[in-house]
């Protein structure tokens, strides 16, 4: 059952200078916190993830998005660790976001929701740890946008983490990645059902636009070879081409399915705000052009993980992070896992990654 914590003090101040009130954070926990509070692990989810990292997602009825990694006897072992995963600020699964009620206007925020940053997300997670009375987590872990949050933890709250595992991520969003996000946002905004973000007033939602956004994004999460291996030029439930714009090819059908399913569970405005937060992420410019300065006060052990087939967050970006950590003498490990699954490898069955995470965590736990 998702728990909700309400931020009691008046305003939750954001990087933009604006604030939100009230702030509610929806979160899940798995396992038990030990007496010394030394076994807590904070999982940060990616762009379209949620707090249901493990077990069955009660909404989709499918396994949690990281159930392959998190659970009894798994690398992030629920018998051993106390695992916390919260829906990000700006999300649409219970934490305050654009579809939440704005108390001033008595209607959902929509586009009146303030633009938020990765740093704001992390700040809200700090409140959650305070609420749970956990002074320091054993590790903070996440991939992609979750990895950005991990980097932000390392930079802004180094005393609250014993170790960190940023996966398939980067210290800034590249120009190409911003470009892809912009395509997605424009697709949403071009849908007449979007109504300038006020679709709730019209009892509708920009499903077509959001679906196209998801289809484009989904391609960037895979790889050419993964698509080729999975679908090739195979036709979908038909013997020959129909000479029409039907989804003749399996890959088309697959993408349409991804799009249609996504809109059932995701809020279009949330998608706009969260992609924006990723675009704004840049630990380099925030530290006067020197990434290493982001980690001046970091005393944690860090394990950076990348995948060779990830072209959205390529290994070179992880290496830049490792380089910066090295130059500050941080206790850093790095592994570039051989995989042709693309960016989404971090969500999939990657035994080498499981081994890395299990080994690193166990060593941190006994340390």
């Amino acid at each position: 059952m998702t728990k909700i914590v309400k931020h009691a003090t008046k305003d939750f101040n954001l990087a933009s200078g604006k604030s939100i009130s009230p702030l509610e954070i929806a979160y899940e926990t798995y396992g038990k916190l030990n007496k010394d509070k030394t076994n807590a692990i904070l999982i940060c989810h990616a762009l379209t993830g949620d707090q249901y990292a493990s077990a069955t997602n009660p909404i989709t009825k499918k396994p949690g998005w990281w159930d392959i990694l998190v659970g009894k006897g798994k690398p992030i072992d629920t018998d051993k660790y106390f695992i916390i995963c919260s829906n990000v600020l700006g999300g649409c699964m219970g934490t305050t976001g654009p579809k939440s009620q704005n108390l001033i206007t008595n209607e959902p925020y929509g586009l009146n929701f303030p633009v938020i940053t990765i740093s704001d997300m992390v700040k809200s997670q700090v409140l959650l740890l305070d609420h749970l009375e956990i002074p320091k987590v054993l590790t903070v872990i996440g991939g992609s946008m979750g990895g950005m949050q991990v980097l932000s933890w390392m930079s802004e709250y180094p005393d609250r983490i014993k170790s960190a595992i940023p996966i398939a991520t980067a210290a800034y969003h590249t120009s190409q990645n911003i470009a892809f996000h912009e395509v997605g946002r424009q697709a949403v905004m071009a849908d007449p059902e979007w109504h300038d973000g006020k679709y709730f007033e019209h009892n509708t939602s920009p499903e077509k636009g959001l679906s196209v956004a998801r289809m484009t994004a989904h391609i960037t999460y895979l790889s050419e070879i993964a698509l080729q291996n999975k679908f090739g030029r195979n036709l979908q439930d038909r013997a020959k081409k129909t000479f029409s714009f039907d989804a003749d090819f399996q890959v088309e059908s697959y993408l349409r399915y991804q799009g249609v399913n996504f809109v059932k569970r995701f809020d279009a405005n949330s998608y706009l705000f969260l992609t924006r937060a990723m675009d704004y992420f840049d630990l380099i410019s925030e530290n006067d052009g020197i990434l290493a300065n982001a980690f001046n006060n970091l005393n944690a052990s860090v394990c950076v993980i990348s995948f060779t087939g990830d072209w959205l967050f390529p290994s070179i970006e992880s290496k830049k992070i490792v380089h910066a950590l090295n130059s500050k003498g941080v206790d850093v490990s790095f592994i570039d896992i051989e995989s042709n699954k693309g960016h989404d490898a971090f969500l999939m069955d990657e035994p080498a990654m499981f081994k890395t995470i299990r080994g690193f965590l166990e060593a941190q736990y006994v340390k």
């Binding site: 052990s301 490792v322 206790d331 592994i335 570039d336 896992i337 051989e338 080498a352 890395t356 060593a363």
Partner: protein, 203 residues
């Protein structure tokens, strides 16, 4: 690590509680030993991800990387010792790597298999083929050892690029130490491997 006699020599060379980078750290055996016995603050670089995972399981901070390309990411003098054990012969540019070692480390420890060993010489002389010995078992076309050298070659390179040899130890096939001081010729003949403690000549 049963026949890694060089590890014991390296351990003796490293001072207590110093900071060490091991390049090509394999499964982390040497680093673990230095951490346990000498309270060393250890770091490693290893090319292969499965070996990196073995290091992580031991709790050792190891970065997957290639000695040929990734040493540039380390700042000057960031380690007390940089170790390159039996790896110099397999890098693209041994001379550049040696210079990198002493840029990153205040001192460097380098161990090499000795291609001047009598068995190697005899193999080539008698068979007229590229030598293969128990410590150099691969064929010429599939060996990783692309820049093998003799102890003498190594000494001249150090001289040429102004590296000071603080200590040198050669080992025979049983791991017994050979007297280096005034018998270079014979050491180069019967030493199967050698370990050197190095620093920049101008320090």
């Amino acid at each position: 690590m049963s026949n890694r006699f060089d590890f014991l020599i390296i351990e003796e060379m490293v001072e207590l509680r110093s900071k060490v980078l091991d390049i090509g750290c394999d499964d982390g055996s040497l680093l673990k030993m230095l951490q346990d016995k000498k309270k060393v603050d250890v770091r490693g670089i290893e090319l292969y991800s499965d070996r990196v995972n073995l290091c992580l399981e031991k709790g050792l901070p190891v970065v997957q990387g290639d000695a040929n390309f990734d040493l540039e990411m380390y700042p000057d003098n960031s380690f007390d010792y940089v170790i390159l054990s039996k790896t110099l012969q397999s890098v693209n540019r041994p001379r550049d790597i040696l210079e990198q070692l002493l840029r990153i480390g205040k001192k460097a420890i380098v161990s090499i298999p000795n291609f001047g060993h009598w068995k190697v010489r005899l193999y080539l002389a008698l068979n007229g083929q590229m030598p293969m010995t128990p410590s150099l078992p691969a064929k010429w076309y599939n060996t990783e050892n692309i820049h093998l050298c003799t102890i003498n070659d190594f000494l001249s390179l150090c001289d040429e690029i102004n590296i000071k040899i603080i200590k040198s130890v050669a080992l025979d096939k049983n791991g017994a130490q050979l007297n280096f001081a005034n018998r270079i010729r014979s050491v180069n003949l019967i030493g199967e491997q050698a370990i050197f403690l190095l620093k920049k000549n101008n320090d």
